[in-house]
């Protein structure tokens, strides 16, 4: 498989994730879209790691997965705190910083 195929797949997944972040109102789906974007990055890193026969890309992917886990945990924790204060999970209804 030429490396370009993997890059096109990664690009398509990144764009889908970006569209998800920008369009959805539900914060949980926005967090899922961020996971999609991170997976697109991982596909890219592993593709170049395979292409260049260099293991560093896969090590970077491990760090990206670690960050994704930390990000999901903190994001969902914030979401729970937010839902407790204001009974909504919609991004456009959370405007309590504004008066």
């Amino acid at each position: 498989m030429p490396v370009t195929h993997y890059l096109v797949l990664s690009m398509a997944l990144l764009i889908i994730g970006t569209v998800g972040v920008l369009t959805r109102r539900n914060i949980i789906v926005i967090l899922m879209s961020i996971e999609l974007i991170l997976n697109a990055v991982n596909i890219n890193l592993v593709a170049f790691s395979d292409y260049l026969q260099n293991i560093n890309g896969q090590v970077f992917t491990i760090f990206v997965i670690t960050d994704a886990a930390a990000e999901a945990a903190v994001g969902l924790g914030i979401l729970i705190a937010l839902f407790r204060n204001k009974e909504t999970v919609h991004a456009d209804e959370i405007d309590i910083l504004r008066w």
Binding site: Y6, A12, G20, R24, N26, I28, L36, Q58, V59, A72
Partner: protein, 175 residues
Amino acid sequence: MQLDSILFYLFAVQILFSALMTITRRNIVYSAIWLISTLVGVAGIYLLQGAEFLAGVQIILYIGGITVLFLFVIMLVPVSEESKQRRFSSQLWVVLIVTVLLTGELGYFLWQGADSFQMGEPTPPAEIGTVTTNSEQIGQVLFSEYLLPFELASILLLVAMIGAVVMAKARPGAE
């Protein structure tokens, strides 16, 4: 057509279709299930590229950990009431502009190909005998060259864990 190209297209179609389903489903439980399908496809892509260790990590950590976390949080949200409401926000122009820009930018680099980057030449695989398997190679690099980032990642996870617990904990004075 060789077996690995057939598998690649199979996984690619699965990933993209499931990703589209993830961001369009009305019910967020379905979104989470389609997200699992996407992540399985990405694990298959890792396997195709000889990253067996990462495929395992992807299954265990993403599907077994992060997606279950998502499903737990979804339980706190009234799903049936939620799925009757408007799904998409009304910022269509921003989405359109950002998508076109992103597609153009990434497509330009793809169209330019390898000329747009200063890419190294593919080096021959490391000599067989010392380190062979994928997880062994990763472990070797992770614990020699990337030891400090590895330890920092553990601190990051500790901070994230404490932060998540503090955020999600019920305040005694509230209510």
